[in-house]
Symmetry: C3
């Protein structure tokens, strides 16, 4: 496990991020009086809901790419990339809630990190394949 | 793999839970005649749909926390926690479908288990970091 | 890592699939002028959105089942099953976007693969348990 210390730490923070965006939906549900199971009715609630769904879909690409990179290339690089990804996602979440038009950069940063991890992992798999 | 027998078993049951709540949406789609891609139109269908989405968002926090805990603290504790989490999620799903007002406890149990696994994993990472 | 070469490769392609269906939603958002955070308003956009959500819910069952199978039974079998799953999911996505009525087979194939991986992993866990 020692070998994946940074990757484990990033994964832990990712779970905290998921918790935060989920909690934010519950908060908005109460504040704007959107009774479950409804998922629309107030612009601010719909933003909170979209932030959560977008974070979920992004995490589902990020975590596999992160761990593949960690296993095939290295733990330290996965940890550094993960930190940038987290900054991008927090930016995205805050921007979307306050002004949807400004969410672009945060979204772009997180997507570029995933692309980088993905390419690194692909390169690693190719290297292992050549030696096999 | 022997080292993660309980964690693997819980993961297997989690996949079965995801299958069950997904199947339930398909069933509700047929019963209340909600043609895809619509996701609303009948209260009972919307409940089934919300159960599935809520289970997905919960699983995405649970599985990473479960495996981090298993790797950093131990397989047996992860297995026991996972069993409680499963009880909470099954409770939640059944309660939401029959009476949304009663889903609270199941939801709370599953969230507390995730919090416990998360804190355990954080403690484990801190311990590894001190020794590094 | 060498031990999970095929499984890692399938995981990489799964992340690419998630990216493709996510990109498709963004494309549909622009083409049919559905301003965020709205998620309905045009049939074609709603299809793209449903493809993405359905892929997400399917991946969340597939990846854990795939890796459990790889760890408990073998990497090669996981890789072969994963290839069939990918074919099913790509079929599903293309069919749903062009003609929802024809998405059934793709969906069925991907579900059968998950069931096979799940049963294989369950058998593997049972075998480890007997020896423990």
């Amino acid at each position: 496990m020692h070998a994946y210390l940074y990757t484990a730490f990033i994964t832990l923070l990712t779970v905290a991020l998921l918790f935060a965006v989920t909690f934010n939906v519950g908060r908005a549900r109460g504040k704007y009086r959107i009774q479950a199971p409804a998922t629309n009715g107030h612009e601010m609630f719909e933003r909170a809901y979209r932030i959560q769904l977008n974070t979920i879909e992004n995490v589902l690409m990020f975590l596999p790419a992160l761990w593949l990179y960690a296993m095939l290339i290295g733990d330290k690089g996965a940890g550094d990339s993960g930190m940038i990804w987290l900054v991008g996602r927090i930016w995205y979440a805050i921007a979307y809630q306050t002004n949807p038009a400004k969410r672009g950069y945060g979204f772009l940063i997180s997507l570029l990190v995933i692309a980088g991890l993905w390419l690194g992992a692909a390169y690693g798999i190719y290297g292992v394949y050549l030696k096999a």
